[in-house]
């Protein structure tokens, strides 16, 4: 890639930051060039972020209707999934799956709740509650 062809697409996903890429200058040698974004890359990022947002919104709706526990919503909101939450909490995946049902979540011991509260940086109260509005954007 030539220096003059380094994309400067002001990608929203960069939030005003710039990234460094390597490109060839007029003398034919490599140099570091700052880029404000590449539309191709930010499309891929946005697709992944939108997918997560959609899953989170669905989980919120389901949690409000009592189909899943608030944990399901907070897990996705904080960019965890069952695999990564199992790795961080030390619970087994099957345990977490059970905790995603309201009936079992509501009976969880303070000790287990404290584990979630610790790795998710939420108070136990926050972990057990849901936002009032149907939006998850903060």
């Amino acid at each position: 890639m030539e220096q003059k062809n380094v994309p400067q697409d002001n990608s929203a996903t960069y939030q005003g930051q710039k990234k460094l890429v390597y490109a060839v200058d007029e003398t034919g040698h490599y140099t570091g060039v700052q880029s404000t974004g590449w539309e191709v890359e930010s499309f891929a990022t946005q697709m992944a972020v939108d997918d997560l947002q959609q899953q989170t919104d669905e989980a919120l709706l389901q949690a409000q209707q009592g189909e899943v526990s608030p944990l399901a919503y907070h897990m996705l909101r904080l960019r965890f999934d069952i695999v990564s939450l199992a790795q961080t909490t030390g619970f087994f995946q099957w345990q977490i799956k059970r905790h995603l049902t309201p009936k079992i979540f509501n009976k969880l011991s303070q000790k287990k709740l404290a584990v979630y509260s610790d790795v998710m940086k939420l108070t136990i109260d926050e972990l057990q509650s849901l936002p009032k509005h149907n939006t998850t954007s903060e």
């Binding site: 939030q15 990234k19 460094l20 390597y22 060839v24 891929a44 992944a48 990564s84 961080t88």
Partner: protein
């Protein structure tokens, strides 16, 4: 307590690990650029591991696993690196403060997610990020040179502690590292040749179909077979490859441009004309990967009459080109 602010020359880098080692070495007077660190560590690779799923999508990587670069570079250049992990978080933070008080820049491995200065859309649970701490304010905030950022940043102690001790895959366990000493002078030439040879060997992959050239071709086959999947999965699958190639700080084209930059610098140092040609070939490889990313995204947007077969064919052409580059690299001999 007063502010501790150590001298640091912040240089924005493409990638965290190469950026940190380059910053630390330069602070000790050893001038190793980011691409040079990358090349010397023979860090370029390709990995497609369908069995390892991250967020439901397979692992795709364009380089060797985390920590390889720092370890290899220090070992080759006979740099004395002191690194420590901690089971006690308070001790881990204290040790960081002690090193700063002694006037040492400290490298840390951290999670990305818990660093508040990261843009929201780029925060995910990845535990092998690297940064340099160069001071601490009287209020207790840490002063950080994060190599992938344009400017210096600041981070509250509580957040930094959480980021250092986040659990999960590749957990840092508070890992910190300090360079104790560097050799007075280093002759890079022999290291350049041996690193290129090693990279060329690895580009072929081992007998398993997940690494190097075999991995790229395997992924191309998988893309063809995505026809059976739902459109949404097709998009997320291709998007994931593009993100791993471009988004996560690779210097463009999944480290291929950084590698070409290394070859270019190597040509300058050794005066070997073969390396000039290899660098040009490396650029072509990188350009083709960028075109592959464009095609993959165009398919997702349904803008052009592009099929999954077309995207796979483009990826196969990347594999062909890399095979040719490998042949070139294998012919490179020290100039007489």
């Amino acid at each position: 307590m007063t502010d501790i602010i150590l001298d640091i020359e912040h240089q924005q880098s493409s990638h965290c690990e190469t950026g940190v080692i380059s910053t630390l070495l330069r602070s000790k007077g050893l001038d190793i650029s980011e691409p040079m660190a990358f090349g010397l560590a023979s860090a370029m690779n390709f990995v497609y591991l369908p069995i390892v799923k991250l967020g439901g999508l397979p692992l795709v990587a364009y380089r060797m696993p985390p920590k390889t670069i720092i370890k290899t570079v220090c070992k080759k250049l006979k740099v004395e690196l002191f690194s420590q992990k901690f089971s006690d978080q308070r001790k881990g933070m204290q040790a960081l403060d002690d090193e700063l008080a002694k006037g040492n820049l400290v490298g840390l491995q951290t999670s990305v997610y818990w660093l508040p200065y990261f843009p929201e859309d780029m925060r995910f649970h990845f535990n092998a990020h690297n940064l340099v701490v160069y001071g601490k304010t009287a209020q207790g905030n840490y002063l950080i040179s994060d190599p992938v950022f344009e400017h210096l940043v600041e981070c509250p102690a509580e957040d930094l502690q959480r980021a250092r001790f986040a659990k999960g895959a590749l957990a840092a366990k508070g890992l910190m590292y300090v360079i104790r000493s560097v050799p007075e002078s280093v002759d890079l030439t022999p290291h350049i040749y041996s690193a290129i040879k090693k990279t060329a060997k690895m580009m072929n992959g081992i007998f398993l179909p997940f690494f190097g050239n075999k991995g790229i071709r395997h992924l191309a086959k998988k893309i063809k077979s995505l026809k059976k999947e739902k459109p949404k999965y097709q998009k997320l699958f291709l998007g994931n490859i593009v993100r791993m190639q471009e988004e996560i700080g690779t210097g463009g084209a999944g480290f291929r441009f950084m590698f070409a930059s290394f070859l270019d610098e190597a040509a300058k140092i050794t005066g070997n004309k073969q390396l000039v040609e290899a660098a040009k070939q490396g650029t072509e490889v990188g350009d083709n990967w960028r075109e592959f990313a464009m095609d993959a995204v165009l398919f997702c947007k349904k803008r052009k009459e592009l099929t999954l077969d077309d995207v796979a064919t483009k990826l196969t052409s990347c594999a062909d080109q890399e095979q040719a580059l490998r042949e070139t690299l294998l012919t490179i001999k020290p100039a007489a």
